[in-house]
């Protein structure tokens, strides 16, 4: 087992093994997405309060989960990269940033679209939406820093530190925003996270969550492969690889 991970950490083997995994991940992701969409759009009953508009939840909530999850993965991979100097961990950290930012953006925009019929406004300074917005800013900071630093090794290490600082701050930011929200008595309708959720609504939610997670792993591996290739472009195995190309 340990031997397997050790081998996986070498760029060459990672490139080969991940190439084998990606199609299967894609297939699984596609299957879960189809099942989730079927359950969510056709099987799940109409909500007695929100009508059919609540079906946005099946995208919004998994995307919001992913946005936080990916930030944690990014910081975790960053720590591994910083402490043990594993190149692959650095690559995983920085490859996560764009995907995480996409999911955060998705959570924000679907939250806003869901909010329009529910709250009557495209944007409400609701605690969760506000936290999500600040999370997007944190992601954009990571991406901006990575793009600004020229040497990709240095850039990856610098962004790892930033992600780590962000992770320490996320709970504080979240707490402060909740506090601020209760203080200012915003028009908070507790429509998110209903206390008891119908099982027919929970199933598609979980299916979509799995689908999004598989999608993340798949795209992460794809991005990491490009990054590995880029960094190892002068090594023998890449030369061998590209000599067969075309």
């Amino acid at each position: 087992m340990l031997h397997f991970f050790h081998k996986l950490a070498s760029p060459k083997h990672f490139y080969r093994i991940s190439g084998n995994w990606i199609p299967w991940l894609g297939l699984a992701c596609f299957g879960f997405t189809l099942a989730g969409l079927y359950e969510g759009l056709l099987v799940a009953p109409t909500d007695y309060q929100q009508g059919d508009s609540y079906r946005i939840m099946f995208i919004h909530v998994p995307a919001a989960w992913m946005s936080l999850f990916i930030y944690m993965v990014m910081a975790g991979a960053g720590v591994i990269g910083l402490v043990w100097r594993i190149k692959l961990a650095e690559i995983m950290a920085i490859s996560s940033a764009h995907i995480g930012a996409s999911f955060t953006f998705l959570a924000l925009i679907t939250g806003s679209i869901w909010g329009k019929p529910m709250w009557g406004a495209w944007w409400v300074w609701d605690a969760r939406l506000t936290s999500e917005l600040i999370l997007l800013f944190l992601y954009l900071g990571v991406i901006a820093l990575y793009n600004a630093v020229e040497d990709s090794r240095t850039a990856a290490r610098a962004t790892s530190i930033l992600a780590l600082v962000g992770v320490v701050n996320i709970p504080i930011i979240h707490f402060s925003v909740e506090w601020w929200n209760t203080l200012h008595q915003g028009p908070t309708v507790t429509k998110f996270g209903a206390p008891s959720i119908d099982i027919h609504m929970l199933i598609p939610l979980l299916l979509m969550a799995v689908a999004f997670k598989l999608f993340y792993v798949m795209v992460l591996l794809m991005r990491a492969r490009v990054e590995v290739l880029q960094r190892e472009r002068n090594t023998g195995w890449v030369q061998e690889l590209v000599s067969d190309y075309e």
Binding site: R55, I56, I59, I109, F215, V242
Partner: protein, 55 residues
């Protein structure tokens, strides 16, 4: 079917959400595919050039 598309009057909201999700996910999917292909072509070209230089 039309009732399904109608989404109880929330069609514009529900379908635009799903549409945007589709666009965002596809963009995420294709960005690395294109980058990968571009990089491979670029590296292959460089490799060939290097081999020609050697001869």
């Amino acid at each position: 079917m039309s009732e399904f598309l109608h989404m109880g009057g929330y069609a514009a909201y529900v379908w635009s959400s799903y549409g945007i999700a589709l666009v965002v996910l596809l963009a995420n999917l294709f960005a690395p595919i294109l980058a990968h292909r571009k990089l491979l072509t670029q590296l292959a070209r460089r490799h060939q050039r290097a081999r020609r230089m050697k001869r």
